[in-house]
């Protein structure tokens, strides 16, 4: 994760945040398991078959979906294809640079992708036009336009909203247009460990103070669909259990509020 412009948080700010956390309060007044405000605008790019803009606090991303006919992978002739790409645009943060994806953006894209893919959210078996020859390829592209922490969750929310609004252009291949078949809603929740406290949905300051990060994706059935531990720190098994529980609860709340 990038540092702020000065490279490190000032000592004073750092102490303030750590002191407040001991009292169970975060820098911006949230409780440890509290999410920032979420705002979702589906169909933000109306000419795309699917899209959404998401604000997670001051973090903003735009997700856009393209669905095009193409060849399946040789080892999965009866499945459509899903690809996920995240662009950390230089407009989003002073130290983000233009250029090919680096390991940060690749990790985000792959964790977001696994959450979607492993939950079987999309019924990719239904995206076959002609087995082994032609299937629908779902391109998920996410522009990060304003960065204030927790990109994995913001991008996942953007993709969920965009996919749920997506119309497959079946008429281009001699069929009918149809909504992308969606089976469930895997919500990713990311938490970081600051001192001994686990906090959900970290903002940039908190990411800079954290020693370790963990993302847990869950579905309606409470099952875990993807996990990713990140950063140079450790979690006890107890902390991981707590993270799974926190993710499950927050996931349920988010699903009910935004993806009914």
């Amino acid at each position: 994760m990038p540092r702020d412009e000065a490279g490190i948080l000032s000592e004073i700010k750092r102490d303030f945040i750590l002191r407040r956390l001991k009292e169970g309060k975060r820098g911006d007044g949230r409780k440890p398991d509290e999410y920032r405000e979420i705002s979702i605008t589906p169909n933000y790019v109306p000419r795309s078959p699917g899209s959404a803009m998401v604000c997670l606090g001051k973090t903003k991303v735009v997700a856009g979906i393209k669905v095009e006919a193409g060849e399946p992978f040789p080892d999965t002739p009866n499945q459509g294809v899903l690809t996920t790409n995240v662009e950390l645009l230089p407009m989003a943060f002073p130290t983000f640079e233009a250029g090919p994806p680096n390991d940060t953006s690749i990790e985000i894209a792959r964790v977001v992708d696994r959450g979607i893919r492993e939950s079987k959210m999309i019924d990719i078996e239904s995206l076959v036009i002609e087995p082994a020859k032609k299937v629908w390829i779902v391109f998920v592209d996410i522009d990060v336009i304003d960065f204030d922490g927790n990109l994995i969750d913001a991008c996942t929310l953007g993709v969920l909203a965009a996919l749920k609004s997506t119309i497959v252009p079946g008429s281009k291949e001699g069929g009918k247009d149809f909504p992308l078949p969606i089976r469930n809603t895997p919500v990713a929740v990311t938490m970081v460990k600051i001192g001994d406290t686990l906090v959900a949905d970290p903002d940039l300051e908190e990411e800079q103070l954290s020693s370790a990060r963990i993302t847990v994706s869950t579905t309606e059935d409470g099952h875990i669909r993807a996990m990713q531990k990140g950063d140079v720190g450790e979690f006890s098994m107890e902390e991981i259990r707590k993270a799974i529980n926190m993710s499950s609860n927050l996931g349920k709340a988010i699903r009910e509020k935004y993806f009914k």
């Binding site: 705002s39 605008t41 589906p42 169909n43 933000y44 790019v45 109306p46 000419r47 795309s48 899209s51 803009m53 604000c55 001051k58 903003k60 735009v62 856009g64 979906i65 393209k66 095009e68 790409n85 662009e87 645009l89 230089p90 407009m91 989003a92 943060f93 002073p94 233009a98 250029g99 090919p100 391109f139 592209d141 522009d143 336009i145 304003d146 960065f147 204030d148």
Partner: protein
């Protein structure tokens, strides 16, 4: 320019596919301060174009060998989102976007008081979220608003518009269909105080008289657009949050 088509782009009443008259602009709105992290930002909707601009700087030019000891370097980066056009666009710069970045950088450099910031760079990041003909001009027009919003001293704004030729007629502000099937495309940008031209490209087929007519139309239109720029900076639309702009 100029693939033949069966579509009739101008009807018998002289109106265009979207109902506009020859010298009519598409709907436009500009908002400022839409991003929290950037030093200045702007968002423009112009026809179906949706474009975000963020400005960072002046800051020390990097890498060092790009520094100019006499002035700031304005580095615009025009980029199309993968989902901004009908067929998914591969991320990363292509030849077209590299050329556009270059002419936009040059046009903005004409307006920015670059001499005040030796060795600095001013970065202008233009992200096309949805493309609908005229993106370079829309991006440039929004860029000068974002620069102003970032408090960067400029001798003038940069205001642009395109004109073109469609079925033999000179028309203002080409739509996507007119761009695809028309006979000429003339994007142009000026400094409104002097009327001097800082960006000019053209391709297609224009007689000298048609060029005169097209450029006059553009100059007239830039007055209206400049007003929208000023209004945006005056905060008129500031209250409209970015997230409301979809639908």
């Amino acid at each position: 320019m100029g693939t033949a088509s069966d579509i009739k782009l101008i009807n018998e009443d002289g109106l265009r596919l979207d109902g506009r008259s020859a010298d009519e602009l598409r709907p436009m709105k500009i908002e400022t301060d839409v991003l929290a992290r950037a030093d200045g930002s702007a968002y423009i909707e112009w026809g179906g174009n949706k474009i975000l601009v963020a400005v960072y700087g002046p800051r020390e030019a990097f890498p060092k060998h790009t520094q100019d000891i006499d002035k700031a370097v304005v580095k615009a980066r025009y980029n199309m989102a993968a989902f901004s056009v009908d067929e998914r666009k591969r991320p990363g710069p292509d030849r077209r976007s590299m050329e556009i970045s270059k002419v936009i950088s040059e046009a903005l450099s004409s307006a920015v008081m670059v001499n005040q910031f030796p060795r600095a760079e001013i970065d202008v990041y233009i992200e096309v979220l949805q493309a609908d003909a005229g993106t370079r001009i829309a991006g440039l027009t929004a860029s000068s608003v974002a620069l102003a919003a970032a408090g960067i001293p400029m001798k003038d704004m940069v205001v642009g518009c395109t004109a073109g030729k469609v079925e033999g007629q000179v028309v203002l502000d080409l739509s996507k269909e007119e761009d695809n099937f028309g006979q000429a495309d003339l994007p142009m940008a000026v400094l409104p105080k002097s009327g001097n031209v800082v960006l000019l490209q053209m391709d297609g087929d224009l007689s000298v008289e048609e060029f005169e007519k097209a450029s006059s139309m553009i100059l007239e239109a830039t007055k209206k657009i400049h007003k929208i720029q000023r209004d945006a900076l005056a905060g008129k639309y500031k209250a409209i949050a970015l997230e409301r702009s979809g639908e």
